[in-house]
Symmetry: D2
Subunit: 363 residues, 4 copies
């Protein structure tokens, strides 16, 4: 059986012994997967999921599980964001919007996971759902009027993230729209981030919203159930890659407000070219030709990241398409007739609402 201590009056000693035993075991059991998602020059890449639910709203697990899952997945930071206005278990679990935070704070610290205090403002559209991140007290944010919600988030120095803006339950056509309230938030400088990706939904239009209004691109799991059941190996949860000056809560916050992020979902990456391009070159290295004959030059391309790259639209006489599988070396044979640079579009790296990354293989 799993270890379960026994709390009877006459058992103090047993409890003590057991507790020590449990501690001894847990000293060395937390295993964190190494993900191969490189740092950028000058920045450390923090892997983050800012949208998680627990039994304190409509999720299915105890908050500590979210910390354990995140460590197993190799994340650097999470935020537990239970709904303020939707607490369907309240007949069994009294409402305290800070409960998950209180339960997890020390637990995360001892495990070297950055825990971001958060909550989810849960309103009909407009304005829809919003996560308040980097806050100080979620109970204070729970107010009748949504604008009061927002004001309190700002007052606490929080980061306001618009969630799944094209959620079909609220936008039947699936297209996110900027309503007056969103425009007012933007005007105030209060809309800091928008989810380009949530669970299994991608909202391409969000890229333009963010570019035009200087808003941070975000991607999250919004998981309610079990991460390992929702994303079966070798799938991964959607996440936000944040390029921080160092691995700390405050550096993370600074980078989020500064907009230094990419979104990683499925086999896709989305982010501004200023981040996407160096990220690609940190993943991919072109080796010197190892062999040639009369007609052909052979070289290898190393992709030491967990992301495959799908290169398409090759130049004349060059391979039309090249797949650089994750954590693999790809052999490329190029005809000596090719004279122009080996330029490709990277089909799965999104750099705008309708744009993908262009790169060059220099051999």
């Amino acid at each position: 059986m799993t270890i379960h201590t026994i709390q009877l009056p006459d058992m103090k000693k047993t409890i003590l012994t057991l507790t020590l035993l449990i501690l001894a075991v847990s000293l060395v059991t937390a295993q964190k997967k190494i993900t191969n998602l490189p740092d950028l020059p000058g920045y450390v890449t923090l892997k983050c999921d800012f949208h998680l639910h627990t039994v304190f709203s409509d999720g299915q697990v105890w908050p500590l599980n979210r910390v354990d899952e995140a460590i197993r997945d190799g994340l650097d930071a999470i935020s537990i964001t239970d709904h303020l206005e939707y607490t369907p278990k309240k007949d069994f679990i009294p409402v305290d919007h800070n409960a998950a935070w209180k339960l997890c704070e020390a637990y995360a610290q001892e495990r070297n996971l950055i825990l971001v205090h958060g909550t989810e403002i849960t309103r009909k559209m407009p304005p829809g759902h919003f996560n308040a991140l980097f806050i100080k007290d979620a109970n204070l944010i729970a107010k009748d009027s949504v604008w009061d919600n927002f004001e309190e988030v700002i007052k606490q120095g929080g980061f306001l993230q618009w969630n799944h803006p094209g959620w079909k339950a609220q936008e039947p056509d699936g297209i996110p729209k900027l309503y007056d309230m969103h425009k007012r938030l933007i005007k105030n400088g209060w809309l800091h981030g928008i989810e380009l990706y949530n669970d299994a939904s991608h909202y391409p239009l969000v890229f333009s919203f963010c570019e035009e209004n200087n808003i941070t691109l975000i991607g999250n799991s919004d998981v309610h159930g079990i991460i390992s059941e929702r994303y079966k190996e070798p799938e991964h949860r959607p996440m936000t890659l944040v390029f921080a000056k160092e691995r700390s809560h405050d550096s993370l916050k600074e980078a989020m407000f500064a907009g230094r992020t990419m979104v990683y979902f499925g086999e896709k990456l989305a982010g501004r070219e200023e981040f996407a391009k160096p990220f690609f070159y940190q993943c991919v290295a072109v080796r010197k030709p190892y062999y040639q004959n009369d007609k052909t030059i052979f070289f290898e391309v190393t992709n030491k990241s967990d992301v495959p790259f799908y290169l398409v639209n090759g130049v004349k006489d060059a391979p039309a398409a090249i797949t650089l599988e994750a954590n693999s070396v790809t052999r490329v044979a190029v005809s000596k007739k090719v004279t122009s640079p080996l330029v490709y579009d990277v089909n799965n790296v999104i750099t705008g609402e309708k744009k993908i990354l262009q790169i060059e293989l220099k051999y």
Copy 2:
């Protein structure tokens, strides 16, 4: 994102639409795996796990998850048995020992899962931990004295199951012992079942306890975390196979009190020969020889169950050992010199504290 309804006063209509949408989806999504564990002549084999924890004691998931997990695993019956005396989350979740039952009763019924009302009496050794199954009200069982616990279980017509009797936290040598209180329970006819297997621990001695005192053999997961993480495909959780007259709550209860069970854990089956032998022959069929030459007869043995069978100690000139893999056909070639019946011991079918099943392959 996962569907989460929104409970704001002005959203009645949205809620209604969403609820209908959710219902429509859930109408056909519950998929139950077919397990290949055959019925016995005259009985239907019910797959059961009578030992599960949730956030209402020291478990990590919401009770409905235990129902979902059980359906996915193809179980017929479960019991949620949170600790009476150990409720470490009580600062966040007020204690109600019937909460999981109340939450799951209708949910399980609509999903055709038999839910057995249960709880876990959690005491130091002796007498240790006991599950009370087929009870009516767990709150009434929570009393100061352990004997009062037992009396109330009996009063409610419950089935008393001794859990992990050799648990090392309570019996450092791992050997279960019958203390005075256990003997008294047995004398009263109050000890109805004992766990031969719990989580990852096998207590062979329990087989003798049960045989000598007419007690039912039980095996359970005692899971606190996530079933799919604890038992990764193709592993399965430990379970009790109950041979019931029909698939119903009352038939299950009758069979449990009558002792018609086997325990299925890992690749092992344990049960009295009267059940183990027909179970084997329901799984395994020997086909007529399909070919022979001067020296050898060739035939196939079909094992259409999920349990592999490891046959050992073959007679003279016969194959010394035969593995009948699960859901497979095994080709057997027998020398014509073999004259005696093709008798084997089945290494992984336990029929006593120190006994394994013997069978014959009749070709």
Copy 3:
């Protein structure tokens, strides 16, 4: 190391011992997976792959491997069909078109696998590639003129199967066409089968060719490399399901000429309605309702086959779509408002070039 006997003059005895040892081991090691693909009333369903290559043409493995792979996959019959006119390894392996047959005949018989003597006539389009199955001597079929090839196949009582008729290397648009030579074959009654499916290509038009001309529908792997690498668990190789009077070479041949087949590829089944409909009902059983409330009736649908079924186009007020996962029980909840029969189209069971199966769930 793997067992490899040593053939030195002074080692006769060692070899004998080793050979006996090898035999002893091999007596019980061949494990055949049980596939859940039901028989039809009056017929046994034989799982067959009639298109396989080895090192004797452009394949990568030794012929015995094809037998081992087939047994592991639970097949009943295979044909090794190396190219007559394409033998790229001939500098190392002298051409003998019967070599694979000679090597495998006894080996397959001892393993209860039906081996069909075959070869592949390999011509440009028209007429393209053809398998000759159930032949007596492949060397006699190797002739200069393709029509001489055909005549010899017929003379040997063979079954002529047109392979991958829309193969893009021969038909750049991927559309199979009946050229004069095909029409002449049909007129002669010499075109017995056509591949509706080959490797990863599906030719829907073939269904009409077969219906209009009374030709047998076939599906094969055409594997050249390793089956387990080409079709990774839980994928399966494409196969022809043949409904034979009994499990024997001659019954198989009779059924093939009589056109009693279906093609099974990926999650799809293709065959005439007279076979597809009973096949579906052998897989799927609707259980009696186990529960109902004011508005809804709940029942379970059991799919005890390896094929999932995707039911679509539900009637008014019924679930619009139901997925019956393979080897699973699906819970269905139907509104009491539904009055018409619960009729569905089965999206993945093809019964004509542009037709899918229609079934009814009777609860």
Copy 4:
């Protein structure tokens, strides 16, 4: 279907087109897995398998498959070593001991795999089986007397490797023994390597043989069938890690003769401490403590290799055992009572017949 060109006289053009098509596809399809097995300071780590069979002796695949498999597995070098004296397929495949070499030489070169010319001398014990590696012509080595075999290997500048010295078919007790012929080989300086590991057999005594006589430690797969079926993901084939000055055939040869190797099999590494110790520290990094409280210091240990490390025999008050899973970060919590260095034995790194590596975690 798989691409198979058609060689009929009137099809020249088609062949040309097809060949071009095939080339175009193959230009970018060879994917090599990145293995995380670090280089040593001053050396590059070459992953090698020097013992492989094909259809040219008793193996089951065409030689080119061995190249493809090796690339997929991320190897740097292989040798195909078909038996000289055991050619059971000779009725179908004429004997040419250089055939595999001729077939693979250019193929491997274009794919950046180092191909070592080899063969297997296949004799009864003594002296048993030997691989001749880095040879020039295998046909010249095939002679009646085994000593003539050896002399020719030496004459060609070859590396002589004693294979599976405790193979039970030749040494029923499984214990390798140095017979007179072995001693004579050693005396001559002709015994360059011995397999410490072959297929699934580990011969610990070989470590002493090698240490005492300055012989190179070797580990190989000796595969006859399909690599991916014999070693199912995430298992890996046994291999020799060679620490070469650069990634080239000649550097590899120099390192082999110089004895700079380790053997990697299952989760185990075996090699002299001078290689094992720096290898461990190239895999494992201890991070600075990230947190501490009154009693405990917390730090992380990164294992960025594919090899897990099992640390045991911790000092007083330190964790007794620590598992550093492959490609993972392990959290370690150490009591402030610990004053001595954090020394551990590494249970799965073998540095002698009866010795394992000792390391220190410096935090």
